[in-house]
Amino acid sequence: MIAWLPLAFSAPWALLGLAALPAIWWLLRVTPPRPSTVVFPPLRLLLDIRRIDETPSRMPWWLVLLRLLIAALIILAMAGPIWRPNPIALTGTGPLWLVIDNGFAAAPDWDARKTTAETILEAADAADRPVVLIATADGPQKDFTAATAATALRKLEAVAPRAWFPDRSELLPALGEAAAVRAPGEIAYVAEPAGNGSAQAWFSGLSHLAGQIPLLVIDGTRPAPLALIRVVQDGTGVAASLRRVSVSSLSTGALRLLDRKGRVLDEKGFSFAPGALDATTRFDIPLELKNDVARAEIAGQSSASGVQLLDESWRRRTVGILTGANFDRIQPLIAPDYFLSKALQPFADVRPAATQSVADAIKAYVDEGVAALVLADVGKLTDAEVAVANSFMTDGGVLIRFSGPRLAAADDPLVPVPLRRGDRILGGSLSWEKPQHLGPFAESGPFFDVPVPDDVTVDRQVLAEPSLDLNEHTWASLADGTPLVTARRVGAGWLVLFHVTADTRWSNLPISGAFVDMLRRAVALGHGKAAPTNTATKPQGETLLPPLTVLDGYGRLGPAPSAVHGLASGSVDKTRASRQTPPGLYGSDDSFRAVNLFTPETPYVPLDLGPIGANVRTGQLWTDSGAALTPGLLAAAFFALLVDGLLILWLTGRLSRRRAAPVVTALALLFFGLASPFAPPAQAEMAPADQAIIEALAKTRLAYVKTGDTTIDETTRAGLWALSQYLASRSSLEPGEPAAVDPARDDLSLYPLLYWPIDATSAAPSTDTMARVEAFMKSGGTVLFDTRDQMTALPGGAGAASPEQLRLRDMLSSMDIPPLEPVPADHVLTKSFYLLNNFPGRYDGSPLWVEASTAEDDPMADGSARPVRSGDGVSPLIITGNDFAGGWAADENGSFLYPLVPGTAMQRDYAFRAGVNIVMYVLTGNYKSDQVHIPALLERLGQ
């Protein structure tokens, strides 16, 4: 490797060939270029001339330079130069231990780490040293016997970043055993940038293992990934906490919330305050979306540390409400469940009661898995109901009861504290006590941070029986100290009693803001029972949650490997991410618990390489294994050789300028084609053809085929122009100027109708042209062939065909023509605009041939009188001999160009009407045939 240039040679001895360059230079100088040989008969005369200028002509200096360059390029290529070669060299002998950290912190630059490891392994392979590959996050059950570097390379393919902190200390005993079998000759350690602070023992152990052998520690330059340590829902929004390893880490970023399908629900930026290691950000996402959040992640960070998975315990609770009596339904707006629903809806799903029966409703709620159950003044509960409620609470549910007349009258066991029978009335007519305000909330209860409202008064309440532990169970009390909210823990859940009603009869608490906060905190204590799974239960009765999906080191969810254990449902909260229990979702698809890599208590500190000792070389990751320059150099030499050949041709006069141009051009194209494979995309410009198409489409135009005979073409143009004027004045169609088209070249599909005067004297269109016309007809266009021969053709059959008819037959012979028929009296052509019986043009009498409507087309053709043939679709071709265009043709002043034959009074008008009908028929198709059915359709509709 050259010190100042990131260049190395795989075969540096080949560079000695450069020493031969002076010799090559000398040889090139003395060897003249090959002369051009010419045959010259008067050579005898030349031979008589004295020899002049006998010094051999020298090669031009630039040609010598070029050839020296070629030689130098080839020599350099043979030396195998490598650009930016592997900067790390192995030093020791004997087995190489390659230790690679593959925790989540290695994930962001894992490719570089893997490349580094591969390069080290390749170097070991080149040195033929055995290798032990140790991936720290994969645990000690790997095989730590030395294998060949090729085997280790294959093993490395299976190593990927894992979503947990590597437990390196458990590796040390296994490594010690391996070292006892065969001592390492060198240890290379690719370290990850951060950990949970447990690396001290590992480093000292590794240092101890290394002893005097070389130890190479390779550290990445990228900072450790940020960690998302907590995502909580605080009623109105979602709060997320982030942590970074050091103040030099990334300080800003974006956090996003995703649903279970990976759709981004919200994205929000965050930033660390200077010097701070922790940051928080809040999402104010709509309530409807909050329940869908299944995952929070730091955008763009490919590491498991930036991912928090959210399970059901995080979600909005579902709450069931039960009220005591039907009476509540009569005036729903002052009923307790109305106030409760209003108070619960901001943070919980309120489920209506399935039945009026309290027992059934409780059971239904519990089966539904509600997190909290609100019983508003439900009086006596049966034993069965109490048992259900108890089991509900034991499973983690919160039962919130509100008192009321019924509760006060009943002797109910399902209360947190014993109650006095009856209720206490404050400020009533028989009482001299004033309505009480709320006192401070209990510090131990969940309401401690709810601001105490000063406008809440309580008129009536049920009183708790005084007892020693009453204060422990009191969450809220009145200003005079009587408990207002009491609670008792039942199993995993809670039993909460509000000593007032859920409506405003006893207090105005239900219409205060504090009511919502209190309910929220109370509901948040509960979580629904996990749906029953079919997994084996532990002896304690706990459900074993199988791994559903687990995170990999990049933070992607994937199927769980077989080594992952299931989790006991009760131990989920205490579970920390590890090799046996990687972060992920455990449980079944509709009921799962999440294990996250980070909790707020998880330490996250930079990796301290201090204890590893002084006998260490450090290195940096590198991302590429160097670029071999040999192919490029050989290609350059090849091109130089081509140029040299051209120059030689030019020097010996065999390359004239005219011949040289294409060769040089081809060479340049070849060179630049290879040098720049990515040519900039051609600028999209509107071609003139596109402009023509746009103009043709801007207006509906009648089109005609140019025959080449100027008289016919001008007549046709004038005829179509006059017809266009007629159409514009009589119908809502205002055609543009008629377009003259050449069916061989122009795009026919732009025009609905093509008028084709047949001229027997002009050249017949080619088969290709007719194929284009056929395609036009098949794609919905209509061609109106006009043989203009009604006057000249002999009446009769095929034997008396006029030249135009013969030409038309010729033209159509190559096409797929449907069977034709003269326009029947019931054809839509006779009715499409005007009612017509025949279609005269300049002449009268020739039938108008259209595609025959077959019986299959007309399923109702049973001979019954129908006003119009079904006419599904438009006839692709219409043939006449009446010279329509001649009949229509008029100049700008409106005077007609040709007299009509026989020239009855209305013939001109009928000619135009025929044209209008044809154009309308072509443009509207069977719409007109449907129009005539309208009365019948309306009648059928019953109007």
Partner: protein, 314 residues
């Protein structure tokens, strides 16, 4: 083949068979071309313009006493009361012309500046001349033949004779050449002059008139070569490499002029001529000039070497 490099068309050296074939293949075309060229020249030629033994009518003249009565043209005489007339015919003295075209390999050369090889041009000229002479009733022969023939089909005979010649045939001695005979030789005269000189001396002694036409390619005339060039001759193996061919040009042109002077000296005799013809010039041009010389009056021919002065650059 690069267009700046003069090139050899045809063959030389030992490829006799191929050479003969190209010759045989070229002959019919050349004969057709020759007839066309000849027809453009014929228009201006009016025989001997003297009364004598011949076939064409020349003039009527009064009968001189002493002449044989069978000389009288009775038909003409009957139109006149007093005089008898004699029909005279134009003199057609059958002249003998011997032709030869050099077929040596150096003649089979064509450069990019010229449309045909020197051999083809020489043959074309020879056939055209032969055609002209044959139409005029002259006796024409290829040098080496025993008897010249006076025939309308002299060209065909000439061509057949050429085809049967061995390839690379040297010019025969011409034992049949006699006094007053014309000898026309088309060649580039690049062979050593000594051989030619011996032949010409013999012909001069016999009393024949010799016309040498040196057919040259434009390249040979102008030497347009540049740069490092290796020259090869079709006839022998020797090569010459010129480092800078342009430096040789003037010397070559001088040498060529000297060579021509030498040739002209060798061919200096009354009525003789030496003409240089370039293959990029019109064949008719040379033919006209040559024909003028051949048909010149013997008196004029006796007057010295005037054609020689004016005609060396047609």
């Amino acid at each position: 083949m690069d267009e700046t490099a003069p090139a050899l068309i045809g063959s030389f050296g030992p490829q006799d068979l191929a050479g003969a074939r190209t010759l045989a293949a070229a002959l019919p075309d050349l004969m057709v071309d020759a007839r066309q060229v000849a027809s453009t020249v014929t228009a201006g030629w009016h025989g001997r313009r003297r009364p004598g033994v011949g076939e064409d009518f020349w003039q009527f003249r009064p009968f001189l006493s002493g002449e044989a009565m069978r000389m009288v043209d009775w038909r003409r005489s009957a139109r006149d009361d007093t005089t008898l007339y004699v029909r005279e015919r134009e003199l057609e003295n059958a002249h003998t012309v011997w032709l030869w075209t050099d077929l040596s390999p150096s003649m089979q050369f064509r450069s990019a500046y010229s449309g045909e090889t020197k051999r083809d041009r020489g043959l074309l000229l020879m056939f055209a001349l032969c055609e002209l002479l044959a139409r005029a009733g002259e006796r024409v022969g290829l040098i080496g033949e025993r008897l010249p023939v006076a025939s309308r089909h002299a060209v065909e005979r000439l061509a057949q004779r050429l085809v049967t010649l061995p390839q690379d045939a040297a010019r025969p001695a011409g034992d049949s050449i006699r006094r007053w005979h014309d000898v026309v030789i088309f060649s580039d005269f690049l062979a050593p002059i000594a051989e030619l000189e011996a032949d010409l001396d013999r012909l001069r002694a016999i009393g024949a008139r010799v016309h040498l036409i040196q057919v040259f390619d434009p390249v040979e005339e102008t030497f347009p070569f540049e740069g490092r060039t290796e020259f090869r001759a079709p006839e022998f193996r020797e090569r010459l490499t010129a480092g800078r061919a342009e430096a040789w040009r003037q010397d070559y042109l001088d040498r060529l002029a000297a060579h021509r002077t030498e040739l002209r000296e060798v061919a200096r005799a009354p009525g003789w001529s030496f003409i240089v013809h370039r293959t990029d010039r019109s064949a008719a041009e040379l033919l006209l000039s040559l024909h003028g010389r051949l048909s010149a009056a013997p008196a004029a021919l006796a007057g010295g070497d005037q054609p020689d002065r004016e005609g060396d650059r047609p």
